[in-house]
Amino acid sequence: MAATEQTIKQVNTLGSSDYKYGFSTEVDEIRPPKGLNEEIIKFISAQKDEPEWMLEWRLNAFKVFNKLPKPQWAKLNIPEIDYQDCYYYSIPKSLKDKPKSLDEIDPEILKTYEKLGIPLKEQKMLSGIAVDAVFDSVSVATTYKKQLSDLGIVFCSISEAVKTHPELVKKYLGSVIPVSDHSFAALNSAVFTDGSFIYIPEGVRCPVELSTYFRINAMNTGQFERTLIIADKDSYVSYLEGCTAPMRDENQLHAANVELVALDNAEIKYSTVQNWYPGDKEGKGGIYNFVTKRGACRGKNSKISWTQVETGSAITWKYPSCILQGDNSKGEFYSVAITNNMQQADTGTKMIHIGKNTSSKIISKGISAGKANNTYRGLVNILSKAKNARNFTQCDSLLIGNQCGAHTVPYIESSNSDSMVEHEATTSKINEDQLFYCQQRGLNSEDAVGLIVNGFCKEVLQHLPMEFAVEAQKLVAISLEGSVG
């Protein structure tokens, strides 16, 4: 993986003294108390040196949050979350909780890394050693910074953007996911700590894949990340989001908001490989991954494409969606969701057709093993003015073992007679003949399952950028380990 190597090199060139925010030295001293209140929000805003309008925006979101009930549509068993029992800033475990050397890391995790083909140096970093000093939000982009800024592309942390590009942030933040959308969205709006900001100017095709692969992990600000991507007219950007570093925390709440805006003829491709810590086999620990991702195809002929491979987290609650406002705009959603052991996932998409000749495509592959439950939940809504809209949806589920569940819950609402909506779904088990065939050719059962499941997911995986696709394939196989006797 090129991106990784570059980052490592870069990391090595940085001494810990360069670390801008100095968490490692200050965290112990200025740790804000647990709890969610206006004071904490003011504290976060002050720490980030935010302008007044940003603080007001946060405080307003907090008011909204207090009024909203927890969303309940998902088929998930979510334990009651005590918002007062969480840290909202510098949440990262204090330094002493972190493993100091590889020897202290769970050998299971190291084994996983080996299978992923991640070299030792990276393993160190992914495991949370040496990360603190390294990954601040500026450094990630530095390699390309010159090249990008020459093109007028802005790629920085959202905190930085609040200061450097307030007009863009003011205009677009919360414009795709209203603060009042649901309580997780409001919570994020009130307390978000960091995330990426990208602006691609008119007519520019971003020459590299932009990625936050490391930064989010590094800063441990992942709990309430906020990402905003704006693709101006006739521009293109591909963005990768990797969450492949397992976190060793107890059930940790991760409520992110991601907003995309595509103007006339612009295209945004957003890819995610999510492998947060899923908890152990008994379902202890793991991340609660409550993510709101939404893209607005504002301009005519614009396109937003989501690709996700979700293998981690104890609970995944995530519906990357497209609002197809511009005439001829396109939305795509390609998803692989794998749940094993006690994992739960309720994921899907919403495609809202507003403009004329809008089209959307949904391909979802759900794989359930162990005692896991995996739900596809999606909405296709064709409004009455969306003349000549098209949707095609395919949801396939694969069950491995008879203690898991696979569910499909599509909502299809159409009010335009010139439109065409098609939905297909199947549920099946892993093909035993295929399994036998592979084993007869010498593959062990785990490799055989990996191979077959990868075949099942191929349609989705091929939409990932190259370097991600390889990793995702390995992840697919690893996630299902132990699922076949």
């Binding site: 589920s397 008879n402 569940g405 819950v409 335009n416 007679s417 909506v421 939905h423 297909e424 549920t427």
Partner: protein, 366 residues
Amino acid sequence: MELVLNLDKIQSESVSQYAKDILDNQNPYKNFKIENYKYAQLHKEVKSEILLRDINFSKLLDNTKNITSYISNPFDLTTNLNLWNYNNEDSFFRVSSLVKRETKSVNLDTFDDRNLFLDISQINENIHISKSSTNEVNLIIFNSKSNDEYPKSIFLDLSNSSKLNVVHYNVSNNKSFLYFETNLQDNSYLNFVSFQSDNIHTRNEFYASLNHECNFDLYGLNINNYGVNDNYSFIQHLKPSSSSREIFKSIVEKGAITNFQGKIYVDSIAQKTDGYQMSRSLLLDDISKANNKPELEIYADDVKCSHGSTVSKLDDEQIYYFKSRGIDSEIAKKILKKAFIVEIIESIKDDMLKNYSNELIESLLS
């Protein structure tokens, strides 16, 4: 928060009033049970200026045995339902029926006739129907000119290896609410075809529990409806090797809203289940609406389950083909509408009923 069914309230209020209370007091998305009524608009007064047509069913009566007056035996439904081992609190149609009303029963084995006619339009009690003989019987369930404040409820008990075909004509109703629940015992077979036309506000619930190696086919047809036409089905495969097949077709126009929500549930022991579900809507104008929610909930791995759903208009290319052969577009559209729904008519097992239904649909379409 769980939905708590307030029995006292059910006793005193109509379905629409009860639905209104629930929806007004709670967020409808909070709870799955209310989710099942998402599109039904039970809490609203659905009105239409349309004068409902009189449809002549005398021909049906000529060829069948009318058993309406035989629904008479008092029956303790609750105890019997416990034997079904199926507790459905998701439906307030069901709960309100159980709380509010008495039940009358009929055993289809007592009739020699092959074609039986049951007019539920005027029946206020719950109806319990049982059948245990293995000979195939056709039961017509007829409902017309109803203005229901409470759902009509039918509980069907099919014993081992019993076979029944039902044709349900639900036509020209101002307001009609149906709750249908069946327990299919081992090796039994039920074919249920529901025709729904010329209604202003309807909600039909179909609940089925399938045991070993039984077979349930459910077909629905919605045409010429004016207000809100809502169908909900829940088919649960509880034991291994049973199959279900469900096809709903709707032609939606003139400002109507047609909804289909269906769920196939497969228990973890119900291996070798074969489940199929399809809902197709023809949406013919932009003031109408088609909502579909076909759902799968599956806990067994050795199963074959699939569903599909489409919403589209009539195919312009097909209409052009008709016209290129000199057939004007009005006739072409009528033929294509008929072609769209013919599969449902064909699914009727009995030839006499099939022909009758065919003629009925022809006349309803024109």
